[in-house]
Symmetry: C2
Subunit: 503 residues, 2 copies
């Protein structure tokens, strides 16, 4: 695996005020401060100790906390936790804004009390748009080592959270390994492990097995669970005229269970019991959209919106228990219906954070679904989605490898940043302006260093002009030395300014 | 160069009614008809003759036409030309709609009377969103052979028009070679060749040299010219506080000329004379946006919009001469300002077709600007832009090679198609639905064949599961054989349907 290094980047920390022991990481490139999720791995002091166990920075905060409380219950009591101040410093907002958004349910701070290695982050429409990377084994491919590499690769490329969707190998061991190595929140879909425990037979799933799984996963430190509790028995017939049926694995599983047993979804009937488990560890809900559309044809249909209404009901029930909630969204949606999805979610789910998969804006480009979906992701992020689940180029075709993880993440960091700019996030444009100034000044190295993928930017430039002198040259291979608009433009600026300075 | 073959695709033709000799190509994959710009190269009858000169299908149409007429003047006289019927058949609309849109200036049909090899196409907001690919040499790299390969590569991957932006090598020879090999309209920026004729010294440019160049290029058969006639002397000071100044090469050139000579842009003062030349050959204007923003910071500023207002004035002057017009647009624009750009263009330029470069929605991802800009391109296409000029991954870094051309085109075919879906173009969803049905039916080969890049889709799938049996398997490596939602969903559909058929 290639060494993960940010060129010309300095790891620095901001300190807390309410909680002076807080140290919030960021990266500084030139004068530009970059939000940093890469954890201690990018801190030279950490690497030089050669001790790869992450510092347990939340240990004392968790110890000082009263039992059976969550960031939501604490926020409603008016308490600014160290985690809240941490994210306030990260996002350049006041701790009070963070507290209020969490208290009102418009933001979540996923941080299991058994995940002390976590560097707190926040998901909500008032904050920077976040990106999730899915990793995990399948029955066809499974390697603990490779999943850990994917985790580090993902956070190196800016994943704000990582979901472990493993369905092959020793699930518990893989998850434990990822949690202990992760400075970002880890999410899972517990029904996958429940299915494994009943030997892959959906009809044998039960509340008892599921309860056992979520307790074990919460004990390990998982920060949020996708739970498909909103798919009701009555919704299933609404999918019958779809082109692509039910494409969520959790959704298809629970539908199969309901039809086989002719019973209501036990994740729905046992929802209060699930809340009790999750509250104890402060695990967040990611209410799963089991009936999300799997094609443009199926977007925004009765099945999708019926489930969304149930997710709204469950959001309020979770809040009554003091459990934090975000709501999952599609999927495949044409551009003109994206805004409607956000509006419906806000209305039906009381503005709980919306966490969407893309959406893909066309079905015709397998192999390029990181692009078909980055278009939809940018749009939905601008309109108010709080976190975007990435899609890799392998979507619909196979399990992503390291390079696919990278391609997916870069496409989604672009989408999230485009959304931040459009939302007018106060400091979002700093990096754009810095890179544009470097570009106009022909400071090539600075342009590379500030970019999302410095190595690739430099490699593309060097492909034609590898000489060191080309890094300060006032041209590139696109236009050559005598045909550069920016060079002419600079000559011009000097000419126009001349008469001013010497009248 | 790899063989350019569409797997499982049949080249077919539709016939004309008003003009029975018309044969409009399309490709059929299964039952799905795909708009086809690849020309005779994908016709097995053509290839088997081993004669690589393209048929001159417009020869008799041009011969029958009265002198000094354009598609615009003919449309206004109520005449449906063979070219108009051709595009009507291509777009599945009535010839009268085509005629009316051209007559009203809302669409153009770029087809120089000296480009008989051209298969007519239309650019306008009522029609499918089109994609342009820029190719061409620079002083650093120049190879006639490679540019011809890029042309064929571009049309193979769906370029609706190609611009030859060569600035190195024998410009006339390269252009002649591309025109004779191109079934799609070819555009140029004549000021580049004019600059070469004055030895690269912008201050030595003159109307006389420029006139000579446009006559020669029109004689060769160029279908549209980018001409930066809207950049006025008074606009130049408006760019002084920009971060990236003037980033259009034509714009920077003309600004330099104006400032050096303290005179008005000769492309503006000689505009009527330019129109006379262009009318004679029916060359279309692509009114250049010399002051387009080159960074998010500079988007939508006074300089950009001042020039756009002048382009609106020139649009009406060109129409008075009977010349067809489209208007070029930005550049770099954040998501929330994209719609405003389309609205201003429509208002100021009387709904002449808008032809935009991207726009890029952030500056922070050099190496991935095909993605930063595909996001903006999809959005602006949905809102009414008629043609999208692609951006390759090499933008800002170097001259694109064959693979960059392909990556840029696929990103833009995605953007254009996402826009067509959002605009509700009547047949746009056919391909999405067909591929989704194939996907849900586990007909892998059909899914690959229908995709924008069949070879890549198949390669990604086969990376994990290369066996022939995997092409009919009801799973892929992402979820493995026992964890596929679509398989469960199909089992379920059978279960639900059971009670219905046997009551």
């Amino acid at each position: 695996m290639q060494a993960l290094v940010y060129p010309s980047s300095q790891k620095q920390y901001r300190s807390g005020t309410l909680h002076p022991e807080i140290r919030v990481p960021y990266r500084k490139v030139g004068e530009t401060e970059i939000y940093d999720v890469s954890g201690s791995y990018s801190d030279p002091h950490f690497v030089s100790t050669d001790d790869r166990e992450l510092p347990k920075l939340r240990k004392t905060w968790i110890a000082a906390r009263k039992p059976n409380s969550t960031q939501y219950t604490l926020a409603r009591e008016g308490i600014v936790t160290p985690e809240m101040e941490f994210v306030a410093l990260r996002e350049n907002v006041s701790p009070e804004v963070v507290r209020l958004e969490i208290a009102e349910g418009r933001a979540i701070l996923p941080a299991n009390i058994h995940h002390p290695e976590l560097e707190p982050m926040i998901i909500g429409s008032k904050f920077l748009v976040k990106v999730n990377a899915n990793i995990g084994t399948s029955a066809v491919f499974s390697s603990l080592k490779e999943e850990r590499e994917k985790l580090q690769f993902a956070i190196h490329h800016g994943a704000d959270t990582v979901m472990d969707l493993s369905t092959g190998g020793n699930l518990s061991e893989i998850r434990e390994s990822l949690l202990r190595a992760s400075p970002v929140p880890i999410g899972t879909v517990p029904i996958y492990e429940a299915l494994e425990r009943v030997n892959g037979r959906p009809e044998n799933l039960s509340w008892e097995v599921f309860r056992e799984v979520i307790i074990e996963q919460a004990e390990q430190g998982v920060d949020y669970f996708t739970i498909h509790a909103g798919l009701l028995r009555d919704h299933i017939p609404l999918t019958q005229n779809r082109i692509t049926g039910i494409v969520s694995r959790g959704g298809a599983l629970m539908a199969k269970w309901c039809v086989t047993h002719q019973k209501e979804n036990f994740l729905y009937t046992q929802f209060d019991s699930i809340c009790e488990v999750m509250k104890k560890y402060d695990v967040c809900f990611s209410l799963g959209d089991g009936l999300r559309p799997g094609s443009i044809a199926d977007a925004c249909d009765a099945a999708q919106y019926a489930e969304l209404a149930t997710l709204g009901e469950l959001t309020q029930r979770a809040w009554k228990h003091g459990v934090q909630v975000m709501v999952e969204g599609p999927g495949h949606v044409p551009l003109h219906q994206i805004q409607e999805n956000v509006e419906k979610e806000k209305a039906l789910c009381q503005s709980a954070p919306f966490y969407t998969l893309g959406p893909l804006t066309t079905d015709i480009a397998p192999g390029y679904d990181h692009i078909t979906s980055a278009i939809g992701a940018a749009m939905i992020g601008w309109r108010g989605a709080s976190m975007l689940c990435y899609v890799t180029p392998k979507e619909h075709l196979g399990l992503p490898n390291l390079q696919d993880v990278k391609q997916g993440l870069i496409a989604y960091k672009i989408a999230a940043h485009a959304a931040d700019l459009a939302k007018g996030h106060p400091s979002a444009r700093d990096r754009d302006d810095a890179i544009s100034r470097a570009r106009y000044g022909f400071r090539w190295q600075e342009q590379f260093d500030l970019s999302l993928d410095p190595a690739t930017a430099q490699a593309y430039h060097d492909e034609a002009l590898p000489a060191a002198s080309a890094k300060t040259a006032h041209f590139c291979s696109m236009c050559g030395p005598h045909f550069c608009s920016m060079k002419w433009s600079q000559d011009l600026a000097r000419k126009i300014e001349q008469p001013r300075t010497s009248p």
